[in-house]
Symmetry: C2
């Protein structure tokens, strides 16, 4: 079998056999296979243009999951659940959800990623707590899960190495937006986590990979179907990512948001709703509630009891950072400078473009322009007004946190382009758009 | 401008601006541009899948032609003409055509390539003459053209370097069969030769890049149209490549064929017809004949006068090899062993698959399995019977020339799969299929 023939077959719209898929995955996970990157990207682009059917997608996912060493969580009694988001701006929900679900009696082995471009990454947010360690081996992860029920870690060398290679090549070759490739990338890692159930948060809108409902629905259906085919219970929740989620964008700022919610302060309504919907489904799939509504109610009481915040502290301590951060948010990194962004006119905010806000965050150093960018953990935005809010001319709509006045000027200018203020109150934009079961 | 955005645009079916095309060509010709091969192949595959329109194709061709230093033949009075074949099996016509056209008063700056896979390469055939030098600088090429009117050389470092990079990446990433990419590759090199006119031999059939008439027609039209748009007179002749051309397949064997023709022995009828048709068009486009028929007649008399053979000798000497080869074919490399391939049954030969014969030649070492393969110059096939011939059971249909009995066995077995013998005489297969002006 030759890589060239496999590429040519897909270019012509052919359907790959399991053996061909296995050949590609081997090529991506083993440098000794001798298949150069420029052949892998040619194949990736052919897949983007010609697609893959369900059988091919499942075969690719399975082969990628098996390309490394999986976690082995059979010794743990409680159901193993996880949530995966396709990525957005202000989406720090994992920071709350992981310790919350552990407090509710589930086991959460949560492998997360770093931010790139306008989207943030859970690992970066966690690392804004000094000393928080996310590089862990499989044995250590398993042990921590046994002890406290939650572990948040980066993709190890061992877990789905084929995905690591293909993901970085996709990112560097403009082959990200392909349903079968996205499905295989997400699910291969989740299968390697030895999960029982998975809730998928599929973002739609300007700040998401997929901009429109139809594409997001197609991705959701493919995710749920492929997961089931591979023996993993799954539900996809389509959620809005036209404006940033919650009230904070930035690494330590999103930790502030997380701690506020864990303390029972639900003022960020869209964030809380998203959290409880996703968590409610995890409760149902994990057998802790008869339906997601009951699950959400249980989670609210876990939060109000203080158990979720306690679980968060245990997790922070287990990863080597200072758990007192949960009691004293001043321990988090802070920006040296703050500045208000004022409404250029009176009216209703009708649009607050998530992607542009994410790009403004990159300018500030809160996100990464490229893989090697240094982060400014304290930088970001606090959104005082979101879509639907009425503002007076000159009223503060958002506050910039940063450390470089020139970058803050540039970020403020970018932020303003994200904002639309009009005379009529806009229709409400629901955060939960659809559930695909 | 970023390569990633350019790739993404083409993936979505967008139309490139001249600036985007220029960016890609710069990336392919200048390693300092820092664009990795895996981005170039991703773009190449996007072009294969999404296509390019005429304007994009012309822009790509022009930018590639200008990516290096062109020949400057303005000092030469005679019209500069060339022929380009899209490649086939047994197609050694350039070996005759280049010196023949020079003898007819035209200037022929012929840049040629090497064989790869089942197709042969003119440079390899020339190099089967010991000492024949094809690596030449622009100044040397120009001087030789001034002196004897013909020069056959390999692509220099200077000429269309963007094509050199893209061609080798296409070959290695299964992105060869794309009309706009083929057009730009062929014409950029020809434009860099500073030609007045170009005749294109577009092969159709099992041994050609394009297997069917429709695809070959589309390529021919795109070639002629783009050439004209860039100020180059051009005609495309579609010729059959279902069976090998002529009676010889192999490097020194095809030189034998060439010398036979140059001596006026036209027994290889399809080869002679192809030669005189292409040459006839070159005569017309070069202003030496009022139509291709008159051009062909003039060329026949140039051959019969001995002037063509003389031109060949001058050319061989100018490139550093021994011109006596034209008088004594025994001076060419010869295979150590010969063996007959016999008809397994009686009947008419109805099929002699060019691609399979080419693959059998690779097994013998007459062609290259990969770029670094060593060639056996004497190896190949002499085809005693071609499509339409009546054979008795056990009669010799072809002779294998080789140097390794095991490989000869394997090549013979491959050759037999190329052959179909049936009871009914097949319809004649014309070698000239169509002319696209």
């Amino acid at each position: 079998m030759r890589m060239l023939d496999i590429i040519a077959k897909k270019r012509l719209g052919g359907r790959h056999t399991d053996e061909e898929i296995a050949f590609v995955v081997k090529a991506a996970s083993d440098p000794k296979a001798g298949v150069p990157d420029y052949q892998l990207t040619s194949w990736l682009m052919a897949v983007c243009c010609r697609g893959m059917d369900e059988t091919e997608t499942a075969a690719l996912t399975r082969a990628m999951a098996l390309s490394g060493r999986r976690l082995d969580l059979r010794a743990l009694r409680a159901p193993k659940v996880d949530k995966h988001s396709t990525g957005g701006v202000g989406d720090g929900i994992s920071l709350v959800l992981a310790p919350l679900m552990a407090a509710a009696g589930l086991v959460v082995p949560m492998m997360s990623g770093r931010g790139l471009g306008h989207t943030g990454g859970t690992l970066d947010k966690l690392e804004s707590m000094k000393g928080f360690r996310v590089r862990m081996g499989n044995d250590e992860i398993t042990a921590q899960l046994g002890r406290i029920g939650v572990c948040m870690f980066g993709q190890t060398q061992d877990l789905a190495p084929a995905d690591r290679t293909l993901y970085s090549l996709r990112d560097a070759s403009a082959t990200v937006e392909s349903v079968p490739l996205v499905v295989a990338s997400i699910l291969s890692k989740k299968l390697a986590e030895d999960l029982d159930a998975l809730v998928l948060d599929v973002k739609i809108g300007s700040g998401a990979i997929f901009k429109n409902l139809k594409e997001a629905q197609a991705l959701s259906r493919a995710l749920v179907k492929t997961a089931r085919e591979l023996g993993l219970k799954a539900v996809a929740v389509l959620t809005a990512m036209d404006q940033p989620l919650g009230r904070y964008v930035g690494n330590s700022l999103e930790l502030v948001q997380a701690v506020e919610i864990l303390r029972g302060d639900f003022t960020s309504a869209d964030y809380a709703q998203c959290l409880l919907t996703l968590g409610g489904w995890m409760m149902q799939l994990g057998g802790k509630a008869k339906d997601p509504k009951e699950g959400a109610a249980k989670l609210e009481s876990v939060i109000r009891s203080g158990a979720a915040l306690e679980s968060f502290k245990k997790m922070v301590a287990a990863h080597g950072a200072d758990p007192r951060v949960a009691d004293d948010l001043d321990l988090l990194p802070k920006a040296a400078m703050k500045r208000d962004i004022k409404a250029p006119q009176a009216g209703f905010i009708t649009w607050l473009d998530a992607r542009k806000v994410g790009e403004a965050a990159v300018i500030l150093g809160a996100g990464r322009a490229n893989k090697d960018s240094e982060l400014d953990y304290g930088a970001g935005f606090i959104l005082d007004k979101k879509v639907g809010a009425r503002v007076k001319k000159g009223e503060c709509v958002a506050r910039i946190h940063g450390s470089d006045p020139a970058k803050m000027d540039e970020a403020a200018a970018c932020f303003v382009t994200a904002l639309k203020i009009e005379g009529r109150k806009p229709k409400p934009m629901p955060v939960i758009r659809q559930v695909v079961k």
